[in-house]
Symmetry: C2
């Protein structure tokens, strides 16, 4: 009961926020375009249309305002119903979460406007997660991890990894923001994946509400529900055919929100399970991200006007321009049907052609050309199935090892 | 001793921040100009030069990062030196202050980029002050005011004004941001006034460190010192001849910082005393702000190329186009030497000419044309003298009435 009333109010506020986002985005579109915040949709026949960019700023601002309004509910009611002492630690963690999220929203928007260099994309989430780490430290948060059964004979049941835990949390913020950022490129994918991951985290929190860490999961729920529902409002404008792009503002903001709920909800390991497609996409991208294989500026799929479908985009390079280990790895991936690799093409027969190494292109390689709208749907279904897998790993499987 | 060490660390961090701001602004200038964030300096002979705008974003971000780093100092040391319980209420107030400031920095930057409409300028500070009011409420902050001696026979020694106090705090945020915003227009004035007010607040806090509210003033100091010193870095680039404009980002951010320290420091009435020039400027502007007298888009002084000096800018209108009460008021102000009013000018002798009603123009009317650099210096000296007056009102005078 103590949790039901605040959660109901939370849902009501979220739905109000959803309505505001839904109406605000079309109303503000021209203002964003006038300010130079727009992009061209490269996967369409008509590439001249200006689509407003950075619209994550709208859903993010609405989310924050709803969170500010909600603040008084779980903590304000404490004075009325509870005789226990005021939950100060939870309150300060909650405030810091909002601080880190607000900070990331600001820095993400600054990135969209100023086009910051790549290295800043690693620094900014670290800066924005600073207050959270500080408060974790001041609240003397646990830095202990549970050791898997196999290793317990040597290392004991739990292990205090101290400062490494802080580094892990900081890296989590960097990972979440960038993982969402690079798994992108087609209409609705950035906002859609955030909605699916958000909903999955919410389901996980609800399962854990009966557990012994109920309070932590309750606070995570209070953040993730408004996030998911307001992002759904954004998704409706961002899905095919996109009337709004989300911008780095959104991918940063969303990534930080996931990192934050994982930290204050004390499930900073479990949360990674909900990022299986993003982790796969990151690992799959490594050869291009680290320039073992040439990496063009855009790696999004190619639009085939005749079919009105998307095809995998490719990158061409001389087989002598990459190291033999890289070629061997690509051939192995080809054997595993994980890349579309052609060797000995081009006029002189010395060119290699490989699909750009993103999950979006891989899916197109595997199932053939797709209409953009249905490709997004399929990728989001994959995301959902992976969340099911994540819960399976978390519950029946983890019991075997921990 | 308990306060000396954190304050020293605070000053050291602030000086580091000062250095970062000083170097970052020239380094980032071209990035801001490329993003379309630039303005023309209208008080110069060469009006074609692009001056980067919104640079308050840089000093604001550096300020925030320094505050995040500082967070661990006053609260972290608590575990080492103090046997008293952890100051949870202060800690959450401190976090919320940063949240409100960060939020305002974000919204201010959004305003600079998107050119929001005038009405938003009133709404945004209210939104950004929401978390602060919520926390004030949750911490059961006092809503009691001391009644002046004269009225005590009827109203008692103190009066609980309840919700009116919250409205007052919210209005304080709106007032501070807009008061700084409209007292502007010449190089160095926005950042300079913020530095002078900041330093004045710091002096006031230091005096009060010996009083019975020492803790509150200590926390105010921890915020206002880094703010003042990083803003000084901005001022150095913003002063005549300006190599950077501060943007609404800065005026919003600075105004919110003053509102925030006044609220968490429990001197939300006293703080207004440090805004005497801004309040005067606002009241003086009222006839134009409410369009009793025509208000041109820019009211900054006029550049006289021959003298290389600034002269008061004027607005002309038909004497029949304004109400007789307004004309009477203008004549009264002329009698008091507070406006330069000419009647019966123009070809048909039916035009009125009056200086634009800002403090900057008034000073030019009173002391004659000035070089831009020296005008800023004089206005900042006036600001400093008013702070001296403020302290006089606060101490010897207030003792008579309270």
């Amino acid at each position: 009961m103590e949790m039901v009333v605040p959660l109901c109010i939370n849902v009501v506020l979220s739905v109000v926020g959803f309505g505001v986002v839904l109406r605000a985005i079309p109303a503000l579109s021209s203002m964003f375009i006038d300010a130079g915040l727009f992009g061209r949709d490269l996967c369409k026949a008509d590439r001249t249309k200006k689509v407003p960019e950075s619209m994550g700023m709208v859903s993010g601002t609405v989310f924050l305002v709803m969170m500010f309004l909600f603040l008084g509910v779980p903590f304000g009611q404490h004075f009325i119903t509870s005789s226990k002492p005021f939950p100060h630690a939870a309150f300060s963690e909650y405030l810091t979460s909002l601080l880190s999220i607000c900070c990331m929203l600001f820095l993400g928007f600054a990135d969209d406007v100023l086009n910051l260099k790549w290295r800043y994309k690693l620094v900014l989430p670290t800066l924005a997660s600073l207050p959270l780490l500080m408060v974790y430290y001041i609240n003397q948060g646990s830095t202990t991890v549970v050791v898997p059964r196999l290793l317990r004979a040597w290392m004991g049941g739990t292990l205090n990894i101290g400062v490494l835990y802080y580094i892990y949390m900081s890296m989590l913020a960097v990972f979440c923001t960038n993982a969402i950022n690079i798994y992108a490129g087609i209409n609705g994918l950035e906002s859609g994946q955030a909605v699916v991951v958000g909903a999955s985290v919410a389901v996980f929190n609800m399962i854990e509400l009966g557990g012994f860490q109920a309070k932590s999961h309750f606070f995570s729920l209070c953040v993730i529900i408004p996030f998911t529902i307001t992002s759904l409002g954004l998704f409706i404008h961002n899905r095919y055919p996109a009337k709004a792009f989300v911008g780095d503002t959104f991918t940063y903001f969303a990534g930080m929100t996931f990192a934050v709920v994982a930290i204050i909800g004390h499930f900073s390991k479990t949360v990674l399970l909900f990022f299986i497609p993003q982790i796969f996409n990151f690992l799959y991208s490594v050869p291009q991200l680290f320039h073992f294989v040439p990496c063009p500026r855009h790696r999004l799929p190619q639009y085939n006007k005749k079919l009105d479908k998307l095809e995998p985009s490719v990158v061409e390079f001389r087989d002598t321009s990459v190291q033999w280990q890289v070629m061997a790895a690509l051939r192995l991936l080809k054997y595993l049907r994980l890349v579309h690799l052609e060797e000995g093409v081009g006029e002189d027969g010395k060119l290699c052609r490989v699909n750009n190494l993103t999950l979006v292109n891989l899916v197109l390689v595997l199932i053939g050309p797709q209409h953009e709208g249905s490709l997004t749907t399929k990728l989001l279904v994959i995301q959902g199935l992976c969340s099911g897998l994540a819960l399976f790993i978390r519950y029946p499987l983890a019991d075997l090892f921990f």
